[in-house]
Amino acid sequence: MSSYPEDDQLIRQLATGDEGAWRRLYEDMRSPFRLFFIRYGAMSPDDALGLYQEAMVVLHRNCTMGKIQAPLKSSIKTYLFGIGKVLLKKNGTDTRQWDDDIPELPVEPEVESRENQRASASLVQRLLDKVGEPCKRLLELAFIHGYAMNAIAEELELPSAGAARKRKFDCLKKMRGLLH
């Protein structure tokens, strides 16, 4: 029996990349997160908003990559606030005075620097520009927009999800060849 049945259901929905669900979560958590970090994190309102968006990006990545899955061991809110705390610690902020307000996370979020992310994204973007428009479109749908194979087949008018899957691997190989 899960301790967070509603959040389990939500995390499954978020994992599919459902934009409406992400937007609702973003708007629900925005105020409590900002207020918490303005009060306890000694942050200006603008910095708290920046931290919130970074924490949401980490949650989004971990969720869509399957690194956080149901059944959850903490609520999504606790997880999100925990990510905020980890991000602040990485920036050298002392969080000891309010550590007790956010319990340690059962799953430590993977937090990558924005510079590394930009470099990785830029490499992929350069390669996508070289693999040809059909492959670029397919790989973007699969790996950036999170489309399922049957949705890709429908979008690109391919005969089946299996055909889309085969095309995806062909395109990946083409891209991998450019890495030499």
């Binding site: 934009e19 009060r39 309102p45 949401m56 990559m65 992310q117 990946l172 190989k173």
Partner: protein, 309 residues
């Protein structure tokens, strides 16, 4: 082994953490013994990390768009609310007070919200005062009750204060209800249909759609909001398959979506969330009512709207 001879499918499952424990152990053992496989995994890891980072960039863009659609406007009201509630502390409060000194418009807004804040506090006090009086009445029915000599004077002061608060609350309440109640907003944002916009002879579905559209608008104009909601909703259900050209289909669809939202806004228990629908239209590029929906969303996020509804 040449790069092309490696199967990408298990590499993808490995990098995305989708392998079962047994398969994972076997794959890791193979990685230890096969340098070519290690090189392949390393190369594909760069690609998958890059895709993940690119996806995060797209998500950042979405968040910026959500911010632009209304959160930024609500932020100021929220900050002011935290300020008056005493929730804004530390550097956040110091920065806000600095802004108050430098920004006359923000200072005016803060002062105006301060009146609301005091008005709410006054209204709460009035409500509590009513309870106190009812408790007093219940007590006064008991014969042993003693009345202090200072009570009449205190009552006179309390009554004067209550009158001032009631007056302030009444004025603010009138303003909020007149300009920000759901019904007022629905009426203010409603536009009667522009018949000259509808063109196109030889479209068999057009006459029937136009008739239903006029009927739905008639219901709205008579204030029969639940019936108007149903009429616009029914129209939206048949529009996708109606025999219309794209121009007329889009015209009726956007008008009906907007008017259905306004009808829902004026209803006590609407079947859809007006706030969500307003946000959806505000985010629909090219929608005829996109700008109006943005404005309406902003008003629905305001403290006035919360007060009035």
């Amino acid at each position: 082994m040449p790069s092309n001879n490696y199967d990408i499918e298990p590499i993808e499952r490995f990098l995305l953490g989708q392998m079962e424990p047994g398969e994972l152990a076997a794959f890791e053992a193979r990685l230890l013994s096969d340098e070519g496989q290690r090189l392949e995994v390393s190369a594909y890891r760069q690609l998958f990390d890059g895709f993940s980072a690119a996806r995060s960039e797209v998500f950042r863009g979405q968040m910026q768009a959500w911010e632009a659609e209304g959160n930024a406007a609500a932020d100021e009201a929220e900050l002011i609310e935290w300020f008056w509630n005493g929730e804004l502390q530390g550097p956040g409060r110091a920065a806000f007070e600095e802004r108050l000194r430098e920004d006359a418009r923000l200072a005016r807004e803060t002062e105006a919200y301060g009146q609301l804040h005091k008005g709410f506090a006054g209204a709460r006090s009035e409500d509590f005062r009513g309870k106190l009086e009812s408790w007093e009445k219940a007590q006064s029915r008991q014969p042993e009750l003693r009345v202090s000599a200072r009570r009449p004077a205190l009552y006179r002061i309390a009554a004067a204060a209550a009158a001032v608060l009631l007056l302030a609350a009444f004025g603010l309440n009138w303003y909020a209800r007149h300009y920000y109640s759901a019904g007022s907003l629905a009426g203010a944002y409603y536009q009667p249909p522009r018949s000259e916009t509808v063109m196109g002879e030889g479209q068999p579905g057009l006459t029937e759609i136009a008739r239903q559209f006029a009927q739905a608008n008639g219901l709205f104009q008579q204030g029969q909001y639940p019936a108007a909601y149903q009429a616009f909703d029914a129209l939206l259900a048949i529009l996708p398959t109606a025999a219309l050209d794209n121009f007329n289909r889009r015209y009726y669809q956007e008008q009906s979506e907007w008017n259905r939202l306004l009808a829902a806004l004026a209803m006590d228990d609407p079947p859809i969330s007006p706030a969500e629908e307003a946000r959806r239209i505000a985010g629909a590029q090219g929608h005829e009512f996109q700008a109006a929906a943005r404005e309406l969303s902003g008003k629905m996020n305001s403290a006035w709207y919360k007060w009035a509804n």
